[in-house]
Subunit: 166 residues, 2 copies
């Protein structure tokens, strides 16, 4: 049982195959834009926004219009490859095979760390709710990461010494 992979994510190649299949099955086309966008999206280890994608693509000198990026990420969501959610009224995306991880979101820098908790997952996977059919769940813990805690403490110290100067 040790280290039995519960939700380690699919290899990228499988994700790409799955998306190709989705396109074919739905009479949609495989275009260089779509391939590049998926490839770049998979390079994010965590979540990303449309803006992040624009930047990542432009760093590779691959210029794609925003309309196409929006179109494509929504297609990826439809295909079940990524999951869309909303943070501060902006769409974020993350691999659909990441969802059963606990998300630690830092309220200060916005970064998300994924944590696996097999006890919790086992419990939740077995859990049923009355009059409700579960499709997936998202567990996000909000707080402050140590990096930011340190910065906040330093800033506070500075503010106090500034006061003394006055």
């Amino acid at each position: 049982m040790r280290n039995k992979k519960v939700t380690d994510t699919l290899p990228d190649s499988v994700v790409i195959e799955n998306f190709d299949k989705f396109l074919k099955d739905n009479g949609k086309r495989r275009t260089p834009e779509r391939s590049m966008i998926l490839e770049s999206a998979l390079e994010f280890s965590r979540q990303f926004t449309v803006e992040d994608l624009v930047e990542a693509l432009s760093n590779k000198n691959f210029i794609v219009s925003k309309a196409t990026i929006y179109n494509t990420v929504l297609l990826l969501v439809e295909a079940g490859v990524f999951r869309q959610f909303s943070v501060e009224n902006r769409s974020h995306f993350e691999r659909a095979d990441n969802v059963s991880f606990i998300h630690l979101m830092c309220e200060h820098c916005g970064k998300v760390k994924l944590v696996k908790d097999t006890n919790f997952m086992a419990y939740m996977n077995a859990r049923r709710f009355p009059a409700f059919t579960t499709s997936y769940y998202n567990f996000t813990v909000y707080g402050v990461c140590n990096d930011c805690a340190r910065k906040i403490k330093q800033a506070k110290r500075k503010r106090i010494s500034d006061k003394k100067v006055k």
Copy 2:
């Protein structure tokens, strides 16, 4: 244990007092707009949007500008009375004392049901994460409520019979 109130939240009067204290402590003023907005916000048993508030207030013939409503709900969040989150890139608000409930969100109608799970709460209250200081958490289960499941089934049946007619 039976029928123990679903949400053991604070009484509204206490919430109002807390907000008043927050205003006083921060050199802010108590205005009729702020009082009415808080009162209306507390009448939502679950989450609500700014648009919901506009409607609720206008039903009471209390016309407040959107700018003031935005200003006030953000103040309520700052005061720790409500929590703000984002669904489909729109701000939603809910009482901060609701957060430790499991949220069952119907992907079809968007309604949220709160469920208490003492096992889960006890586990999470004790849970610590490395290099991270928790402030609160949100556990949302996405799926389809029975009401919507029924509607979807009916719609499907209709589609099939429509096809036969063709």
